[in-house]
Symmetry: D2
Subunit: 341 residues, 4 copies
Amino acid sequence: MTTVSVLGASGYSGVELVRILSRRSDVEIVTAMASRQAGQRLDALYPDLAGRFDRVLEPTDPARAADAEVVFVALPSGESMQIVPELRTRGARVIDLGGDFRLRTAGLYERVYGRPHKAPELLAEAVYGLPELNRVRITQCSLVANPGCYPTSAILSLLPALRARVIDPGSIAIASMSGVSGAGRSSAVELSFGEVNENIRAYRIGAHQHQPEISTILEDATGVATTLSFIPHLMPITRGIYTTATADCTKEMSTAEVLRLYREAYAGEPFVRVKDSVPEIRSVRYTNFCDIGVLIDPQSGRLIILSTIDNMLKGAAGQAVQNMNIMLGLNEEESLAWTPG
Amino acid sequence: MTTVSVLGASGYSGVELVRILSRRSDVEIVTAMASRQAGQRLDALYPDLAGRFDRVLEPTDPARAADAEVVFVALPSGESMQIVPELRTRGARVIDLGGDFRLRTAGLYERVYGRPHKAPELLAEAVYGLPELNRVRITQCSLVANPGCYPTSAILSLLPALRARVIDPGSIAIASMSGVSGAGRSSAVELSFGEVNENIRAYRIGAHQHQPEISTILEDATGVATTLSFIPHLMPITRGIYTTATADCTKEMSTAEVLRLYREAYAGEPFVRVKDSVPEIRSVRYTNFCDIGVLIDPQSGRLIILSTIDNMLKGAAGQAVQNMNIMLGLNEEESLAWTPG
Amino acid sequence: MTTVSVLGASGYSGVELVRILSRRSDVEIVTAMASRQAGQRLDALYPDLAGRFDRVLEPTDPARAADAEVVFVALPSGESMQIVPELRTRGARVIDLGGDFRLRTAGLYERVYGRPHKAPELLAEAVYGLPELNRVRITQCSLVANPGCYPTSAILSLLPALRARVIDPGSIAIASMSGVSGAGRSSAVELSFGEVNENIRAYRIGAHQHQPEISTILEDATGVATTLSFIPHLMPITRGIYTTATADCTKEMSTAEVLRLYREAYAGEPFVRVKDSVPEIRSVRYTNFCDIGVLIDPQSGRLIILSTIDNMLKGAAGQAVQNMNIMLGLNEEESLAWTPG
Amino acid sequence: MTTVSVLGASGYSGVELVRILSRRSDVEIVTAMASRQAGQRLDALYPDLAGRFDRVLEPTDPARAADAEVVFVALPSGESMQIVPELRTRGARVIDLGGDFRLRTAGLYERVYGRPHKAPELLAEAVYGLPELNRVRITQCSLVANPGCYPTSAILSLLPALRARVIDPGSIAIASMSGVSGAGRSSAVELSFGEVNENIRAYRIGAHQHQPEISTILEDATGVATTLSFIPHLMPITRGIYTTATADCTKEMSTAEVLRLYREAYAGEPFVRVKDSVPEIRSVRYTNFCDIGVLIDPQSGRLIILSTIDNMLKGAAGQAVQNMNIMLGLNEEESLAWTPG
């Protein structure tokens, strides 16, 4: 029996962790914690949990959280770096779903997030928790920086082509469309139904913290400097991210050849499906899959890569549980292999 | 290991059965059959199944289907009664998700569905598969008539009050709002996104086949004649039914009293949750739950009952699997106890 | 040239008034006022207005507002009664879109809204601005209480049948489904996209302020006491209300007879269309129409009435402009006769 | 009084033309024609028109249509080229909303549309009806090829930058997201609510007929050869297109400089708004505006251009009416200057 704690359990990622973990007979949730919502029952906030998880949210307390073997930290970026050091000191293994441990240096963190890093000594220890990139290192680590939702879909899109040196790393253009749950449980007017429905808009172009996450992870993994534009869009669906990437090819290739390249790159990966057809969000919704489509555009000759994930699962809580499974040597697909429709 | 066949596997209810059953290690899907789509892979039609269920749809063939212990028939009403007799003759247990075996007499069937019944001899044998009403009889039968989606939510709403004789059975008014998946996978213009989105409309008032299903099942269960209006609406969501019922009370009651009545009626039921608050579709989506809220309207003094289900699960495939579990003496909640969010 | 002021112009109803009025060549908007948003340009909040209405919101000031002949008050209930007396004293004609002047007595107001009425002396002067009920009185008055959105659709549904005494006034059950814009521009979590999308829920049953508005207006208009239940629902669309009402008939009638009754009742009405078919929200969206369908339910024998409006137009700003047109002796349809699709 | 005919009036673009034109007091619709739907009343198909346009659809007949001064042809590509020659012979001015007269040569048409052109002699006469590009030529012509929806937003996005030679024409990447109405009134399963809702997917990459339309119009207008990728996506909204374009800059520029460039390029244009902020579909829905945002991405140094239109208005029927207004020397904004919200 694995014991776990969930910090930030009242948010969308946190409650998704509770949903997955509470279904497991081999996992015991020691505590689910929250700050403002502490004292409330989680199933009062998320009534789908009624009869499934009827516990009261405890106030955030690292010492108590560290009673568990694994602590999931689903706190906003900036908050987790204040808590993770104590969790680590007390011996807990940590999977952080925020952005605090994803960038390689404190200097880059400060430039991107606009505040100094509070636990720079942990940056070298943290492993970027994209199993398709770092599976072995995840097995051996005690601090996982769970990837952002956009980066998960963008990095999985570009990694095989960049590694094979078949695209010009200076020519990458990424457009991503995200469902609203990516912004978390929120009372902002701009996330109200009246403003989001029947609408789409780009946002934070050139200023989104996921852009340096994508480029530095790709650069570290491939040893190649990239220039990429990243345009995130908010679209009127609840769950899912759809990413469209284009890049100039460095040599002439057919669609069949790039398909083969991607199939080989992801052979054996339990949660990446390279498709013959165009991927769609509805095929991955409520699953931990990343579906990828690739083709050579006959008009421009460019490589076009389409990928899609459920932002709450492969883009957050599902991948976090996948990381836990890997870390503990459990079956990697445990509790993640269902497709509800 | 239980062996099952699914007829009509290319429709929304049929594929939902495949999704649930293919997750189970104690069930083997012998065959998934379809008519027009035979020869295609099911995961080509429903790409979420890629890597999960990669089998080819076989042509509909009752003899082959009856190789399994349990046959799920997810065919349109009118078609299943042509196939079920052979399935039964060959010894298979049958769970029919259509309307052919839900009404008590061939005469009533002909009046409601506008065609003669082809297998009237099986009507007496068929058990209406609402576990909360007929659990014991389901254990002992070989032919389950799985309830309609609207009837599931309406009957569960009204049964406790009618049995307790606290409402006037001549005063029941039901309004139900259904998601579009209830109409099945369809190419009708009136179910196209452009016509359904940002819209709602009532339909088939006074002519919907679920109205006599609701009233006759309630009458048989309570021994009381009812007069009820039933107004179904099509609303712009994919999954879910929300039912609002009102009726005059036969005696003065408080909300606390009716809550107690409903809680007692459904005590121990694994898939009915009587709520303190107003139920919402999002709490039951992708689950097999029926959530119910009850109150006495302070303005009119009437009893108001709100209930909600996922029309594809408790309203179709989930309840069918629940019936299989009961029929075979398995754990009733097996493969139905997850809440994906 | 008619001069007008709009108070509460930053809300959904207020900006809708600005949209309609700014299209007119015979109307001049003297001022658009707001409280918290004062000082901002209205087209910064609602960018569709860019190039159409580029004025700055002025702080709420009744004296300044009263420089116009007609003042539209689109403030929350409770606020307008603090301002309308001064507007009236200064000689402006007032059209109030809130609830402060819709109920007949201060006592009833206090019971329904939970606070004492601040301007009870104006209640007798105010005319309930439903043109189909009070057209002549609107011509002669200086204070219009513009009807609520739900009441507009419910009263227009029931008025002909109640006046003709063909339904039992003690048997009326109303279910209404409203789009989210009815709740106004809001940052409440429960109106966020993530909570509203793919969902429906009833709310404020037995406690909604529109229930007494509906019953008292109907009673005053027909001289008959009513007992009615009213169940409002929030549904995932932006604009529109759909109302389904049922009532027992006092005599046997055919659908053709009730159709004739409703057609006669609304003959000559420019904004009520009695339909042969079931009405749909999409037919009235962005219009000032109320579409009504009536039938006798063959199962229960009850009269069923379906009606639909755009809650922002016939349910708020459109009807307010219609009232202005009537009040000033202008063409009643001026600026309201378009159907954008 | 201008007399007009509408061919293909039963489709989404055709009925939108009827909606706009029937509001005008200076235009008389001589006939609205359709093929399969001939004999039906248009307001039976589109009930919003009830009481506004109650005419019966006539069978398609070019001779009869040519009784009007201006004929709008809203037929599928491939059909209009069979009818337009007779309309022109009979002296009618023609505005064709399909793709048959948008490409410069019969050879290109055949390559793109996969069929020979039936009226190649008219290609030289046809003027591409983008007023911001060809206003003077539209005044003098008798055959307007009304632009496609995607091309309208893409060309308006790129024209100023390409003309000013500030971007590398070989580096353009376009991603466009379209609402479902762009596909017309359809009964295809893949456009059913159940498949579109809560989903997004790219489609026809490298094979969409709008790609050569975009590139050839841009090339003719600027004299510069382009290489561009174009990725159209279907998203779950009814109306609207959102286009995101990126290109490498040929010289260092600030966002302020490109804003100035675009503002100057579109100075005086009644239907193009260059925005300080990110454009959103909801600001242009139900309007004839194209809203454009431009910025230099601080990460990649690229120019990013965002544009949005209502695909049924500026992307189809609205622009067609704008073209008629220009052609006939009427006020260009007539009947197009409203913003319903």
